[in-house]
């Protein structure tokens, strides 16, 4: 199983468990596996949304700045 498939599986599992903190981490990790801006932004957005949801201000700020760069 390649890295993308593996992380995909972990994301599905984290969704199933409604583990939002894990989702932030996994989506962020996923963003590193892609090279096109659009793809990176997609995963960073997903991570950003869950960081807002759980109220992780530090992570939100970091992700927001990263999104602005893409």
């Amino acid at each position: 199983m390649n890295k993308k498939s593996k992380i995909d599986q972990l994301i599905v599992e984290a969704h199933r468990q409604n583990d939002k903190k894990k989702l932030i981490k996994l989506y962020f990790e996923a963003s590193k596996l892609f090279s096109k801006n659009k793809e990176i932004s997609f995963f960073l957005t997903q991570a950003y949304v869950f960081s807002l949801d759980v109220g992780d201000d530090i992570e939100s700020k970091k992700l927001f700045h990263m999104l602005k760069q893409h």
């Binding site: 957005t45 950003y48 949304v49 807002l52 949801d53 999104l67």
Partner: protein
């Protein structure tokens, strides 16, 4: 039987009560919803239900999903509980919101102040903005609210006169009780489901006429002749007692009194309905608020909350006091449900009032009738 509301607004001595249709007809219920509840200032719940920052409770108010929320600055506000995107329900159950309110459908996120924070992928995958989506104009829809005596009153239409203008008279009347109220907590509230139209619960609260028969226990120390009617046409009505006997715990312990009350309240107490649906009481050692929430034409919920003058009161005494009030409210259930069943009799003309005893009930009926008549005039104009 006549549905003529002008019979209701006649003087007490010759007036009839509201017609049967006002208790059993779905179309009248819908009319009341728009003319009385959405245009006026009904009570929704109490601010003590959201004690901590981020606390949120979803409430279906006559079918409209609302969200009561304590924001980061500590202020309590009411919003329509829907996303501005597809109208999806945002919060399904009571919770504490640590971060943002995230719509479970497409993850549009809102702050606890109602601001729209992010619209993920709104411009396409990975693009979170679009020139036609102005986040500044798409915050949660706030419902106008006013908190008095911990009760959150709402004006859904947004164009009623200010709460404090409408209720200036009552606020002045009870000015002495404008002091910190401490909700007794979990042991000082209860919820009763009643199978009657909301108005019957209000009407029963307004008058003292029924006390000797329905609350014989209460009547041993608070006799009918010790009560007086409170009638403020177009504003509020209720009853007062000249012989309030305060709650006694084991060994005669009492709750602390509210500070600096005048002599009137040494033995006096008042029980008033803030129209349309909030039953309030002031007594020297504790006060309460009961919100009557209509759930259908023929059902309602009674949400009772008891408050003290101090945050430091005895838990057992609080529990016993609450139990006593719950028993009193339960004693009323067979009456309000019996009157509801009675509204199926086609020969009933709304009933005749006792000119001496039923002033407060008539005052409420006339207020309802006038609201409906004026609303109909406005709609047909």
């Amino acid at each position: 039987m006549s549905n003529d509301l002008t019979l209701v607004t006649k003087p007490l001595e010759i007036a009839n009560g509201l017609p049967n249709s006002h208790y059993i007809d779905q179309s009248v219920y819908e009319l009341e919803k728009r003319s009385i509840f959405f245009e006026g200032w009904p009570g929704l719940c109490v601010a003590s239900e959201v004690p901590k920052i981020g606390d949120a409770i979803p409430i279906s108010f006559m079918g409209m999903p609302l969200l009561v929320l304590r924001g980061k600055q500590g202020e309590v506000r009411v919003f329509q509980n829907i996303c501005r995107h597809r109208g999806m329900i945002l919060v399904k159950e009571r919770k504490n919101i640590e971060g943002a309110i995230r719509c479970p459908y497409h993850s549009w996120c809102y702050s606890t102040e109602g601001n729209l924070l992010v619209t993920p992928h709104v411009g396409g995958p990975g693009i979170n903005t679009h020139p036609d989506i102005d986040k500044n104009t798409l915050g949660l829809i706030e419902v106008r609210s006013y908190i008095w005596r911990d009760v959150i009153f709402i004006n859904i239409s947004g164009d009623a006169e200010p709460f404090e203008t409408i209720h200036k008279n009552l606020m002045t009347r009870w000015k002495e009780f404008e002091q910190p109220l401490f909700h007794g907590g979990e042991d000082s509230k209860f919820l009763l489901d009643v199978k009657c139209n909301w108005k019957l619960a209000v009407e029963n609260y307004c008058e003292s006429y029924h006390l000797p028969w329905i609350h014989p226990g209460l009547n041993t120390y608070s006799k009918l002749e010790d009560h007086y009617n409170i009638n403020e046409p177009n504003l509020y009505s209720g009853q007062g007692s000249l012989l309030y006997r305060q709650f006694l715990g084991d060994n005669g312990a009492v709750f602390p009194n509210f500070a600096d009350l005048s002599d009137k309240w040494t033995d006096g107490a008042e029980y008033i309905t803030v129209y349309p649906n909030v039953l309030l009481a002031v007594q020297k050692d504790h006060v309460y608020a009961t919100i009557i929430s209509p759930t259908s034409t023929t059902t309602a919920e009674e949400h009772m909350h008891i408050y003290y003058a101090s945050s430091d009161t005895d838990p057992k005494m609080r529990k016993d006091n609450c139990k006593q009030w719950e028993e009193i409210f339960i004693e009323d259930i067979f009456v309000v449900e019996g009157m509801q069943t009675g509204r199926q009799c086609s020969g009933f003309d709304g009933g005749r009032f006792s000119p001496a005893m039923d002033g407060p009930t008539h005052c409420f009926h006339a207020w309802v009738a006038n609201k409906l008549l004026n609303f109909n005039k406005t709609v047909s104009a």
